[in-house]
């Protein structure tokens, strides 16, 4: 039952959670008491423009997040000084502004190429010594600040109108509190992710508040509950293999719900429910055998399975139709990486988070960035696999890497790779033939985002535009962008727009309606399709994309079967 805690990365995660809990429990009581829960959440969300800026100008993302959060806190504080609205209203106001600024910066100023969110990649499963040190320092800082300013925070919150008469500089006192929240939340954000930051800083204090009416015992109970929820949630996450951030958040929410209900319900019923939940929790889960090779993306997983056959266990991290931008590792991913002999990455920023997972998992795998072997290159575009020649080079590299890891099976890998490479060349030839039948003037592509540069370059297609004119899905097109795109589509007589299966296609549909082009053919951009779909394997996916494009461009008259 306690096996998860044998792993070093789980131990470090638990230690990180306990360290964070001290600050979170103490600060959480002040957050709840002063009605700053939404503000704390806003601090985390407001980091976005800072990340875009850090990426665009080129400085540390943590610094960007922190700067944005400080600016956010300062904005709320200034407004709170002048206006009567509560912190909630002002937080919402400033938050909307911050997010809007982030979107404009990402879309129109920097045309952000990278996956902005992953810059602040944090997971309790990938905690390093530096993270532990930061968590300890922040908690110590919070405890010191609360000890020094707690009485003043209490007095100002208790009756703000008397603060001045009591000799308290209310604005300064509040600024210290708001700043403490900014520092604590952004540091937690970088170490353990957004979801967990919220779950630790607000929920335990809100839960214990239901039961305890005195400040000191309340703070102690909040620290204890935050630590308990963190460690139990982490254990649960490993047992049932879900992202720990989500597991801890759900657990904390559940405990709050039970605690709130318990205020009204007899104790015996409560005990029964709690026991039931615990038993259910214990029953779930299972263990996984050690995989040998970890592949980050769906297509790399597919190639690796083709080359390795049954000789090797392949652990693929991303699943079909998940946006790689919104990835949080599951315990299985870290476990697999810890025990892996080989890690295969896509590179060019698409799976930059993997480096941290590898370094923190504690194993010693060989890491191969497959983008380094591609034969066709486009600047800063991570979607290189859409050119089958790059896939061929990658497959060859995979076979070589597998051969080094498992020298006994080298011949099998080489044979499998050779067979797969032949199929790739056939695929390439087939697709090229299909496109050759379409008049060059009609080969004009409009997609959801710039994921098809490699594909277009390979088959002589002109990319007229993208609905999201940048490679991060966080970016949004401006009204001007959309208008220009519509005009372009009409002028160039583009017959079809191709939304991607993993990205909301509403805007593409809207533009299609506006221009009379069709938007009913979907493409597989970032990931393969799920099992049973037309894009379930790499070979099927590229063929399906070619087929969809040709059908779209010829009004369904031709295809590429």
């Amino acid at each position: 039952m306690l096996t998860p805690f044998h792993y070093a990365f789980v131990q470090r995660g638990a230690l990180e959670l306990v360290l964070l809990s001290v600050g979170a429990g103490v600060l959480g009581t002040w957050i709840v008491l002063r009605g700053l829960a939404f503000y704390s959440h806003g601090v985390a969300a407001a980091a976005f423009p800072g990340l875009v800026l850090a990426d665009g100008i080129g400085f540390a993302p943590q610094l960007g997040a922190f700067g944005a959060a400080v600016a956010f806190g300062f904005g709320v504080e200034r407004l709170a000084h002048r206006r009567r609205e509560g912190h909630d209203t002002l937080t919402a106001l400033v938050l909307v502004g911050a997010l809007a600024l982030g979107v404009i910066l990402a879309s129109d100023v920097f045309h952000s190429q990278a996956n902005i969110e992953s810059l602040l990649f944090g997971s309790v499963l990938a905690v390093g010594d530096a993270d532990l040190a930061v968590a300890g320092a922040v908690s110590a800082g919070v405890v010191v600040a609360a000890a020094a300013f707690g009485r003043r925070w209490l007095a100002v919150g208790f009756d703000a109108g008397s603060a001045r008469a009591l000799g308290i500089r209310g604005a300064l006192t509040d600024a210290v509190l708001l700043l403490a929240i900014v520092v604590a939340v952004t540091s937690a954000l970088a170490a353990v992710g957004t979801m967990l930051a919220g779950a630790l800083y607000v929920v335990p204090a809100a839960t214990t508040r239901l039961w305890i009416g005195r400040l000191r015992p309340w703070q102690a109970a909040s620290v204890a509950l935050a630590a308990a929820e963190g460690v139990v949630g982490l254990w649960l996450a490993v047992e049932v293999n879900v992202p720990p951030g989500a597991a801890i958040a759900v657990l904390a929410g559940g405990v709050f719900a039970v605690a709130a209900a318990a205020r009204a319900v007899p104790r015996t019923a409560l005990a029964a429910v709690t026991a039931g939940v615990l038993v259910a929790g214990c029953g779930a889960g299972g263990t996984n055998a050690r995989p040998v090779v970890v592949a980050t993306t769906t297509q790399i997983g597919d190639w690796t399975r083709a080359v390795a056959g049954d000789e090797v266990r392949v652990h693929q991290i991303l699943q079909p139709n998940t946006d790689p931008h919104e990835y949080e590792p599951r315990p299985d991913d870290v476990l697999a990486t810890a025990g892996a002999k080989l890690v295969l990455e896509n590179g060019v920023g698409l799976d930059a988070w993997m480096a941290k997972v590898v370094s923190r998992a504690g194993g010693d795998p060989r890491v191969v960035d497959l983008s380094t072997v591609r034969t066709a290159r486009r600047q800063d575009d991570p979607h290189w696999w859409h050119d089958p020649r790059n896939a061929e080079a990658a497959v060859r590299a995979i076979a070589a890497a597998l051969g080094r890891v498992e020298p006994d099976r080298r011949a099998t890998f080489a044979r499998n790779a050779a067979r797969y490479e032949r199929r790739l060349r056939r695929l390439d030839a087939t697709i090229a033939r299909c496109f050759a039948q379409v008049p060059k003037a009609e080969l004009k592509l409009v997609t959801s985002h710039d994921a098809f540069g490699y594909f277009a370059a390979r088959y002589g297609i002109t990319v007229i535009g993208a609905v999201i004119p940048s490679q991060t899905t966080e970016a949004q097109p401006s009204a001007g962008d959309v208008a220009r795109l519509v005009a372009l589509i009409e002028r160039e007589h583009v017959k079809a727009i191709f939304p991607e299966s993993s990205i909301n296609s509403q805007l593409a549909d809207e533009i299609a309606r506006e221009t009379g082009a069709t938007a009913s053919y979907h493409l597989y951009g970032d990931t393969l399709g799920p099992k049973g779909s037309s894009g379930a394997t790499y070979l099927a996916m590229e063929r399906a994309n070619a087929n969809a494009i040709i059908r779209g461009l010829t009004g369904g008259r031709r295809g590429c079967a």
Binding site: R151, S162, L166
Partner: protein
């Protein structure tokens, strides 16, 4: 007698307001004096206190003296859901003396307990503030002001919503404090009570009158102060039946 506070032709306005909230306020508070500040709701009593406390800047005139005020707010301004005991609240009175890096000392605690005892609350020092009665809460806030040990006390409607024993205790306490040489200002709209103070300051956005209650509280002054008919003057042996409509504000009619 030494003058603790002197205000000359004081005016103040809230940001973005076109008209001043108070105007032409001139008075002196001497040591050992109790001044009743009389006026209708919205007449500027709280505003005057805010200016004296330095929370609101005067747009005209000056206040001399009284750098140190203790303030007793209306009880409904304080949070009943806060995890604080009567003692915790009383201890807030030490914050002006204790620098932020120092912890509460045993001496501060003894001082706070003594203040609570003085307002008759020694039995409930550890009871949560929100669980006390309205009168007890008012007394806790007075104890907090006592802990501040300031030469001047400002009390905003201290008798509103307070039970009779608390009210009587409070009146006696204010007399004691004045006797110790402190200056006390009490915002109120209870005319009968105002007769007991040393001075009254009648305020309805501008100062109507200031002086000893017997001479100052004439029918004309009170009508101008409260903007309504005074049925009978206080202290003339008749029932005091002052302008119900405006006295308590429109929300009570």
């Amino acid at each position: 007698m030494s003058v603790l506070v002197r205000a000359v032709d004081l005016a103040a306005a809230y940001p973005q307001a076109e008209t001043p909230a108070i105007e032409h306020v001139t008075f002196e508070l001497a040591a050992g004096e109790r001044i009743g500040v009389l006026g209708p709701n919205g007449g500027g009593k709280s505003t005057l206190f805010r200016v004296l406390l330095g929370e609101l800047e005067a747009t005209h005139g000056v206040v001399e003296g009284g750098d140190r005020f203790a303030f007793v707010p209306q009880t409904e301004r304080s949070r009943l859901d806060y995890p604080v005991s009567a003692l915790d609240v009383a201890l807030m009175g030490t914050l002006s003396r204790v620098p932020w890096w120092r912890r509460t000392s045993g001496r501060d605690r003894r001082f706070a307990r003594a203040a609570l005892a003085r307002v008759g609350l020694e039995a409930v020092t550890d009871v949560t503030f929100g669980e006390l009665s309205g009168g007890q809460r008012q007394r806790v806030l007075v104890a907090r002001a006592l802990v501040q040990d300031a030469p001047v006390l400002l009390l905003d409607e201290p008798f509103t919503g307070v039970d009779r024993p608390s009210g009587e205790l409070l009146e006696a306490l204010l007399a004691e404090l004045a006797h110790e040489g402190r200056g006390v200002m009490i915002a109120t709209h209870d005319l009968d009570q105002a007769l007991a103070w040393d001075k009254v300051l009648c305020l309805n956005r501008r100062m109507v009158a200031f002086g000893a209650p017997g001479e100052t509280m004439t029918r004309a002054v009170l009508e101008e102060t409260f903007g309504a008919a005074v049925v009978a003057l206080p202290g003339e042996g008749e029932a005091v039946g002052v302008m119900p409509a405006h006295h308590h504000g429109d929300d009570h009619t």
